[in-house]
Every structure is written in structure tokens, then in C-alpha cells.
């Protein structure tokens, strides 16, 4: 669907994106990265607003730059405001539906349907100037989906939306993904991206750091062992027993009267299979179990900032060969 081959974009001496190669297939893909990472440049290359300085970008096997054939099959919601305050929501979507080539006979139905999907029917005849930020965001999404595009590109679509609005837009994007269309979403809100999709493209300093599923990427980050947090009535004894396992790098208690133990391991699968045996044989009552760094935020932090968060006021047990030391709270 979308292919970038060694695509670079420079603005004079300023780097936009540098030598990016990736393929985006149908379904939802999230484009992540800190400010200045090159997300917007990449979206602009894909939407045909910019031409790559070197390399090649293709969408539907055609070069998208100023190519109406590609634009016809694509819907785009930019991050910035882009509507006239003097138009009503209906008029705005209708205008862009006309530009997208929706036939006159079907336009009214298409416009009303798109507006309904973003839950703006009640406000569609009000002027956009009177809309809240969330309503503007929804109407922007409506104009992008009014012609039922195969490829939907959204730059920060959840910005300004209230929780209900976020849920509605997320549901809409899920539906689009399920229908076999391609949805490319750029966002800073990692938690919500994680709810939307497990497939990500991670950019930093104009380079593609990682692509694929969050879990796969996380598994490949060898520099940072997996952290697993276990809540138990006898956390201290549990920590002691876990430290006997060869693939446990460290165990950390959350204080002298500890109820939680956090272990670090490079073999999470082995740990998950062993833990029940240890708990059953020693009679430990485990009340909660989670992996705090097996998520997008951790992947993002490890790859982009390379600074894993260190909990404070914890007791740390570590085998002699590792660098861990016992700390007093």
C-alpha cells in the first residue's frame, strides 16, 4: 500500500527524514516519535505534499507527489486547523466531498453519513467558528472519510477530543482497519495509540528506529531486561527464591515491609512458566502480576531516550555478577 525506499528529505541543511525504508500494509499503523523526529515530514511525503530529496515513496504503487489519482483514494486529516469559520460543518464536508469527486446524487448521503460517524449530526448546521476544539477535530476527520478512502492518514487525530470523543474516533479507526483499509496515525498519546494498534513505526532524529509490533520490538531490545512486578503477601521470601533462578538479573522490593517484588529477566517466557511452580511449591499467595515495561511507553522510552525509569525507595537484590547493590530506603 505505502512503500518508502531509502527516502530522505532535507530542507536545505535541515534534516527531515533520513534514508527511511518501510512498507505499510492494510490495518492500523501508528507513527511515533518525539517532536522533530520527522513524523510530519513522513506524512507529507506520503500524502504527496512534499517530494523526497532522494529515494522513492509510492502509494498504491504510484508516486504520490501532486498526483490526483492517489489523492482520490486517500483521506487526510492534518494536525493543524484548516477550516473556514464562516462555513457550517455540513458545508465544509460537502465542499471537500465535491473536491474528492463524490457524485452529486450521492453527496448528501455521503456527507451526512460521514458526519454521523463522527457524531456531529446535531451540530452540522452550525458555523465552524462556533465549534469547540474537539468538534473541529471531528469535522476534520469527517472530511477525510467522506469519500470512503482506502487510505486514511491522520496527524494527531485525538488531540483536543474529550474521552468520549476519543473513544468514538478510536472506534471509527478500528472499524476502518478491520475493513481492510490502511490507516496511518501519528500521535503523541502513547496510551491511546496502544489501544488503537500494536503495529508501530518509531522515528527519531529523522531515522526509522523500529517497525513492527510493540511486543516484537520489545523482545528485541536486549539492552533492557524485562521487568515483571509481582504482588504477594510474602514478597521478601518470594524475591529470595526468585533470585535463585539463573535467568533472573535482579529483584527489587518496594520497602522493608514489602508487598511487591519487581524482577528483571532476559528470558520472560521461561520466567512465566517457572513462576507458578515456585508459588505452588512454597505456598506464596500472588495477588497481582504485571509487566510494566512490556508496553509502548517502555519501548518508546528505551529506544528514543534510552533512560529507563528507576523507581525510588526500593530494596534491590542482585546476583554477584551483576552490578546491583542493596540500597536502603
Amino acid at each position: 500500500m505505502i512503500n518508502l525506499q531509502n527516502a530522505s528529505r532535507w530542507y536545505g541543511q535541515v534534516l527531515g527524514i533520513n534514508d527511511i525504508s518501510c512498507a505499510i500494509e492494510p490495518g492500523i499503523t501508528a507513527l511515533l516519535g518525539p517532536n522533530g523526529a520527522g513524523k510530519s515530514t513522513m506524512l507529507k511525503l506520503v500524502t504527496g505534499q512534499l517530494r523526497p530529496t532522494t529515494g522513492c515513496v509510492t502509494v498504491f504503487e504510484e508516486r504520490p507527489f501532486a498526483n490526483p489519482r492517489v489523492f482520490r483514494r486517500m483521506g487526510y486529516t492534518p494536525e493543524m486547523e484548516n477550516s473556514y469559520d464562516d462555513l457550517t460543518g455540513y458545508e465544509y464536508v460537502d465542499y471537500l466531498a465535491t473536491l474528492s469527486g463524490v457524485p452529486k446524487t450521492q453527496r448528501k448521503t455521503a456527507v451526512e453519513s460521514a458526519i454521523e460517524r463522527v457524531v456531529m449530526t446535531a451540530n452540522m448546521h452550525r458555523k465552524i467558528g462556533g465549534y469547540s476544539k474537539g468538534m473541529r477535530q471531528r469535522i476534520k476527520v469527517a472530511q477525510a472519510i467522506v469519500h470512503e478512502p482506502e487510505l486514511l492518514i491522520l496527524d494527531e487525530p485525538l488531540n483536543g477530543l474529550d474521552p468520549v470523543g476519543r473513544h468514538e474516533v478510536s472506534t471509527l479507526l478500528h472499524d476502518y482497519g478491520r475493513e481492510g483499509r490502511t490507516v496511518l496515525v501519528s500521535s503523541h498519546i502513547l496510551y491511546e495509540v496502544e489501544q488503537l494498534t500494536q503495529r508501530i513505526l518509531l522515528l527519531n532524529h529523522g531515522r526509522l528506529l523500529a517497525q513492527g509490533s510493540i511486543r516484537q520490538i520489545r523482545d528485541l531490545i536486549d539492552a533492557h531486561p524485562h521487568r515483571i512486578e509481582i504482588t504477594s503477601t510474602d514478597a521478601r521470601s518470594l524475591a529470595r527464591d526468585l533470585m535463585g533462578l539463573p535467568y533472573i538479573l535482579s529483584a527489587r522490593l518496594d520497602g522493608p515491609s514489602a508487598t511487591k517484588v519487581e524482577v528483571e529477566t532476559r528470558a520472560p517466557e521461561m520466567f512465566y512458566s517457572t513462576l507458578p511452580e515456585i508459588a505452588l511449591s512454597n505456598g506464596y499467595r500472588i495477588t497481582a502480576f504485571s509487566s510494566p515495561d512490556n508496553n509502548l511507553e517502555a519501548v518508546f522510552r528505551y529506544l528514543v531516550t534510552d533512560k529507563p525509569a528507576q523507581p525510588k525507595n526500593h530494596l534491590v537484590f542482585a546476583p554477584a555478577e551483576t552490578a546491583g547493590e542493596e540500597e536502603q530506603p
Binding site: 500500500m1 500494509e25 501532486a66 483514494r73 492534518p78 493543524m80 473536491l99 510493540i214 511486543r215 516484537q216
Partner: protein
């Protein structure tokens, strides 16, 4: 946790046939018209536009009344002693149309500012180009649409009262040779009224494309319009003195002057104004049309510069070079 990579069995894409999409979308042949129509809709919603457009009809109403009074008092003995009325007896219908056209100049300029200053600048301000140019619309479609919306709006304001006056003359003065003496007047009226629309539209889309707000574009165009007029007027006075009959071409080398000079050539009229000498003798001052070819060259150059400036600036993304 499921992995959503397509094709690995965890998340099959249900509707794979959708990839062969060949939907009902039809790209219009005249896509620019959609852009033009949307821009004109915004203009005609403004009350101020209709107020100024109404005021712009006054010169034609005045000329119509003047023709009526002239026809009523044709044989009155008083007019032979009145130089202004005497001058009117010699005038053609084309002269009436040209004088009305001249009277409209300022109002057409204001209408141009109202519909043209915001045309592209508003899109720059709201980043609407990002959306428009991601639709199946080329840069030329967009530019022609914007240009056409300004052109048609100004032309409407210039042409509508002229048409009404033409119909009035046709109904009232056919017996006086209105259609027979000046058979090409209708065509000349169409062309003459299009001149300001063409020039204003071209210059304004150029300036508007380079502006972030409509106000900035309006101020820049007004400054260009009036400052060039002032400079040329001062230069003409220094070079040719106060006599308007001398240095006709130079006096027309302004935005307004080019429009007036070309329209005068199109109508083919020579202005004759009464002028009193120091000895209080009345003389006739003849203002012939300036050289049409030089004015046409200036007109074409200004139009091309405006359109080329807009073409160069219209892009969805502002590329800042580091």
C-alpha cells in the same frame, strides 16, 4: 497480546477484496469551478459586499438620469448657454458607458479587496491548503478556481449595472439610433467591464498567495494601488505640468490608469472637457485615448506577474530552508 501484522494468522484482514477498490468517485472535468464556487459563496454572504456592489451601480444610474434629462431638455434654449450641457449634446452612448465605468473604479477596487484579499491568504492562515491539495485537485485547478472567483465577482459588479443601462438605452433610445449608430457597443461594454476584473483578480491572487492574512494582503494591494498612482501623478506633473491633455500615456501607467486607458480605447471615446483660460474664455480640452498597445503590454505583464507569483507560492507545505 495479539500481533496485528497482516498475513501472520493472528489478525486476518476480513475484506481483502477492498484492495481492488474501484469506487464511484468521479473526478470532475472542471475541478476549478468547485473552488471558485466555494469562494464566491463566501463573498456573497457578506452584507458589506452587497452594500458596495449597490453603491457601484450609482454611476450608471447617474448616467442614465443624465441621458434622460438630456433627452427631455434637448430643445430647451437654456442648454445652448450652458457649456456642460452643450458638451453633452455631442456625446455618444459609448461615452456615457465609459464615464459610468470611470465612476465605478473606486468601488470596484473595494469589491476586489473584499473578495480577493482573503482568497488565498485565508487558506494560508488556516492551513486549508494542506487539505485542499491532498484532494484530487491540482495546483492549477486551485489557482484558476481562486482567480476565477475573484474575476467573476468583480465582473458581475461591473457588468450588471452596465447591462441594465444597456437595456434601458435599448428600450428608450432605439429610435435615436442607439443600436444602429454604435452596433458594437454591447461587445465593447462586455470587454471593457472585464478589464478591471481581470487585472484586480490577477494582482490580488498574487498578493494574497504571499500573505498570511487577508488584511495583510488587502493593505499590500491598497498600498501598491495608491502609491503607484501618487508617484506617477507627481512624476507627470513634474514632467508635463497640470495640463491633463499632455503626457496621457505616462499618466495612465498605474493600476487604475491602465484599466481606464484600455477601457477608453475599447469604447473608442475621446473625452472633451470644458476648460476656462485665464481670460475666462471657454476652451475645449480633448483627452484622447492613450496608446493601446503599450497599455495592453503593461496590462498583460501585470496579470502574468500576479498569476506567476501566486503559482510560485501555492503549496501545501511551507518549506523552510535551514
Amino acid at each position: 497480546m495479539t500481533i496485528e501484522t497482516p498475513g501472520n494468522g493472528h489478525q486476518p484482514i476480513a475484506d481483502l477484496s477492498y484492495r481492488n477498490y474501484d469506487g464511484p468517485l468521479k473526478t470532475r472535468r472542471f475541478r476549478w469551478w468547485i473552488v471558485a464556487l466555494a469562494n464566491m459563496r463566501l463573498t456573497i454572504r457578506k452584507k458589506a459586499f452587497w452594500i458596495v456592489a449597490s453603491i457601484a451601480t450609482l454611476p450608471y444610474i447617474f448616467q442614465g438620469l443624465s441621458l434622460y434629462i438630456q433627452s427631455m431638455t434637448e430643445n430647451a434654449p437654456m442648454m445652448h448657454f450652458n457649456p456642460m450641457l452643450a458638451a453633452q449634446t455631442e456625446r455618444t452612448f459609448a461615452l456615457s458607458f465609459f464615464m459610468a465605468f470611470n465612476g465605478q473604479m473606486l468601488w470596484l477596487f473595494i469589491v476586489a479587496l473584499m473578495c480577493g484579499a482573503n482568497s488565498i491568504a485565508a487558506d494560508n492562515q488556516t492551513n486549508a491548503l494542506l487539505v485542499y491539495l491532498s484532494k484530487p485537485v491540482t495546483k492549477w485547478d486551485y489557482l484558476i478556481g481562486k482567480w476565477m472567483s475573484v474575476f467573476l465577482t468583480i465582473w458581475f459588479v461591473a457588468l450588471a449595472p452596465a447591462l441594465i443601462m444597456f437595456i434601458y438605452c435599448m428600450l428608450s433610445y432605439s429610435g435615436d439610433g442607439f443600436l444602429t449608430k454604435e452596433p458594437t457597443l454591447f461587445l465593447r461594454m462586455i470587454v471593457a467591464t472585464a478589464i478591471p476584473a481581470f487585472l484586480h483578480a490577477s494582482l490580488l491572487v498574487g498578493i494574497s498567495a504571499w500573505s498570511k492574512t487577508g488584511r495583510m494582503a488587502g493593505a499590500a494591494y491598497a498600498a501598491f494601488f495608491f502609491i503607484t498612482s501618487a508617484i506617477v501623478s507627481v512624476a507627470a506633473i513634474i514632467r508635463f505640468g497640470m495640463n491633463p491633455a499632455k503626457g496621457t500615456l505616462m499618466r495612465h501607467l498605474t493600476v487604475e490608469g491602465v484599466m481606464q486607458g484600455l477601457a477608453q480605447n475599447v469604447y473608442g471615446v475621446t473625452m472633451r472637457l470644458p476648460k476656462f483660460s485665464k481670460a475666462f474664455e471657454m476652451k475645449e480640452l480633448t483627452l484622447s485615448p492613450p496608446n493601446p498597445w503599450i497599455l495592453l503590454a503593461v496590462f498583460v505583464a501585470l496579470c502574468l506577474i500576479g498569476i506567476a507569483a501566486a503559482r510560485a507560492r501555492i503549496r501545501a507545505v511551507e518549506v523552510v530552508r535551514g
